[in-house]
């Protein structure tokens, strides 16, 4: 059977099965809403609004400290810096502290600027010239993050804005530069901010990679990075 035939059959089966059969209304225990709400143009009340209303709007400083607290709880490292000079120093410190040798930076101009002075101290690779094997041999991937979400300590990466998909995934250490201006409160805010139509891949990152598949014992650093370090840039 070809896919178009299957499509027609499946849609037809759906419509057929949804036709009312004179079943007693409410004969389903626990079904919510006995009336068909009709074709939906407006969905149920935006869940985001309710969550925000319940929690109350936060002051900027509160949002940032919520974010850093959640980051710590999720097992990510965080360093707050003011200005690019401080950021450069902090980055150098993170890289040496981690014993990194091969470092790859994304195509974000900020990343390129911060890594340039470190060229003589670390082996720098350029993403677009890396073979897959070389990428797997890198120690650190440096990217920016487009957004931070305070509710969960999450970094948001948009493929339309930066080539950060693999650098935030393959090397065992991921350093992410994020401006405090870009931290929003809730998951809903994060979803509203991303340029969904432009990005073929949007990634939410909350802490390092992990598993509890063996006897429910937590192991950090499975297929994704073992260490996530966020360099938080206060208003530049």
């Amino acid at each position: 059977m070809r896919s178009e035939d299957a499509r027609r059959e499946i849609l037809s089966a759906i419509r057929e099965n949804l036709k009312p059969r004179g079943i007693a209304p409410g004969s389903a225990v626990g079904s919510t809403g006995s009336a068909d709400p009709g074709p939906a143009t407006e969905g149920p009340q935006s869940p985001r609004k309710s969550f925000r209303a319940a929690r109350g709007s936060k002051e900027r400083g509160d949002v940032v400290s919520s974010f850093t607290e959640r980051l710590a709880a999720d097992g990510a490292q965080c360093t707050v810096v003011r200005g690019e000079a401080e950021a450069a120093g902090a980055l150098a410190g993170i890289l040496s502290g981690a014993g990194a040798r091969r470092v790859v930076g994304s195509d974000a101009p900020l990343v390129q600027r911060l890594l340039r002075p470190l060229r003589d101290r670390f082996e720098m690779a350029a993403l677009d010239r890396l073979s897959r094997d070389d990428l797997f041999a890198c120690d650190v991937g440096v990217t920016t993050a487009q957004w931070g979400i305070a509710e969960t300590g999450t970094l948001v990466l948009e493929s339309a804005r930066e080539r950060s998909r693999l650098l935030s995934l393959v090397p065992p250490i991921h350093v992410a530069l994020l401006s405090t201006r870009c931290i929003c409160e809730s998951l809903g805010d994060g979803l509203a901010h991303v340029r969904q139509a432009d990005s073929h891949a949007i990634t939410f990152i909350t802490g390092p990679s992990r598993t509890s598949d063996i006897e429910l014992t937590l192991v950090v650093g499975v297929h994704g990075p073992q260490t996530v370090h966020v360099l938080l840039l206060e208003d530049l």
Binding site: S3, A6, R7, E9, I10, L11, A13, N17, L18, R21, S27, A28, V29, G30, S31, T32, G33, P37, P39, A40, G43, P44, Q45, P47, R48, F51, A54, R55, R70, F136, E151, T152, R163, R165, L166, L169, L187, L191, Q196, S199, H200, A201, I202, F204, I205, G207, S209, R210, T211, S212, D213, I214, E215, L216, T217, V219, V222, H223, G224, P225
Partner: protein
């Protein structure tokens, strides 16, 4: 299906029972702590259920909208009526793309359609990359839990397995075991030319699929290879991008007690520029395989609201004792007991709806408020009405209930029969009860005897 036999085998396995007790207790505690952080948990459940109900009532429209938007963004959307067709489609893509190394991230739907076997039959051996799935694949077993597939294995057993299959030095150190798997699988990721994933949610409004995970293997599976194939049940679609919020708030907390899993990948179509990172081809396979049938009644329709969090497994007193394998299918626990018979047909899985004490703990914890006991009762009524089961036990049961109904409609007959049983000390042959429990005898005088003998009078004894 041999639920009865497999359940008994599970009960005899002390190590399994200890692991299940530990896992379900721990997940339960973590879930409770995680949901306490959410200001209006009940409201979130209601909203999510309302979204699911709305979607299912117009599933055709939302699927068409999803497919159109996904295709507009560059994805290729395929429709599969059943498991065989889905396997053909995926195998066909693999062949056309010349895929030799295939990596897979966790997908219950791919297990449902037995994809690995279908691909193996065509000379392609996909590698499971989720650690738990990797372990069960190496062991040649089935997963036993939706979220932690290898929960039934001790680290000792896994160490022995890795020593045998990976040539690893046997070690009980869980971190070392995970590292060994990581190393073995990194090679596969580096070489993979096709990645197969599941889908947690599919957004109709934008053609986006969302994949949740903790390990990073789904990200690798969906970003490194040249081709990505995502398989999804047709019930995974939700209407709007913004709807993702409530599900992201409910699923991780319900399943593992996390506020969020480490990664969410929101994938919409193919790369916009050749230099972008990601596959050249992105295929989405929409799977029916019996789901459309479940739309027919409101009771069964709610089965399709499931977001595969696993909370019901962790709450279920039955699952806690016997684990996932006894359910004999991909989907274990309470949701499995209602989903499997509806996917496979009751003939195949007639025992499952009866493998429950109807306690309702699952309904309490389900993030989308599926009334699983109601579905179980519906399936039981169907089983009896169809009269499919033959065999002595089934016939005796029908006889018993026919007699029961006849007697209970006649109070004098009821009273007289009970009085006879009392006088003659008749004890029903309930070996299934008395093997483990003392059977309480009929009281020397029934209540109605006492009532007639004087209790009816005000203040009388």
């Amino acid at each position: 299906m041999s639920f009865d036999r497999d359940a008994r085998a599970a009960l005899a396995d002390g190590q399994l029972r200890g692991a299940l007790r530990h896992a379900t207790t721990l997940f339960g505690e973590r879930r409770r702590a995680a949901i306490a952080e959410v200001p209006d948990w009940e409201g979130a459940r209601d909203r999510a259920r309302a979204i699911k109900d709305e979607t299912l009532l117009h599933l055709d429209r939302y699927l068409e909208q999803f497919a159109a938007n996904a295709e507009r963004a560059g994805a290729q959307v395929h429709w599969a009526r059943d498991a065989a067709q889905a396997c053909d489609i995926i195998a066909g893509i693999a062949a056309r793309r010349g895929a030799r190394t295939v990596v897979k991230s966790k997908s219950m739907a791919t297990e449902e359609i037995r994809l690995n076997a279908a691909l193996a039959a065509r000379g392609i051996a996909p590698v499971e990359t989720d650690l738990g799935e990797y372990i069960v694949q190496l062991a040649g077993e089935e997963p036993s839990h939706i979220v932690v597939p290898a929960i039934h294995k001790t680290k000792g057993q896994i160490a022995a397995l890795f020593a045998e299959k990976l040539g690893m030095e046997p070690s009980d150190d869980v971190a070392k075991l995970a590292a060994a798997a990581r190393q073995a699988l990194r090679r596969r990721f580096a070489e993979a030319d096709l990645g197969v994933s599941g889908v947690n949610f599919a957004v109709a409004e934008t053609g986006t699929i969302l994949i949740l995970e903790n390990e990073g293997n789904a990200r690798l599976t969906t970003s490194l290879p040249r081709t990505h194939v995502a398989l999804m049940g047709i019930e995974k679609v939700i209407p709007r991008f913004a709807d993702l919020e409530v599900f992201l708030r409910l699923l991780p907390r319900s399943g593992t007690g996390q506020a969020l899993t480490a990664y969410q990948s929101l994938l919409t179509g193919t790369k916009r520029h050749p230099a972008d990172e990601g596959p050249e081809e992105f295929h989405i396979v929409l799977l029916d395989n019996g789901r459309s049938r479940m739309l027919a009644s409101p009771v069964t329709r709610q089965t399709l609201a499931c977001i595969r969090c696993g909370a019901c497994l962790n709450a279920c007193p039955v699952y806690r004792q016997i684990g996932g394998h006894a359910y004999g299918s991909v989907y274990p626990g309470p949701i499995g007991a209602v989903l499997t018979p509806q996917l496979l047909g009751m003939g195949e899985s007639a025992e499952l709806p009866y493998a429950s004490s109807l306690c309702g703990a699952c309904r309490d914890v389900c993030p989308v408020k599926i009334d699983i006991p109601a579905v179980l009762l519906h399936l039981r009524a169907q089983a009896v009405a169809r009269g499919g089961s033959t065999g002595t036990r089934a016939l005796l049961e029908r006889l018993a209930f026919a007699s029961y109904a006849a007697v209970m409609a006649r109070p004098r007959l009821f009273g007289w029969l009970m009085a006879c049983a009392r006088r003659l000390h008749i004890v029903p042959p309930l070996g299934a009860w008395t093997k483990w429990r003392d059977l309480r005898p009929l009281a020397p005088r029934s209540f109605r005897d006492e009532w007639r003998a004087g209790l009816r009078h005000e203040g009388g004894r």
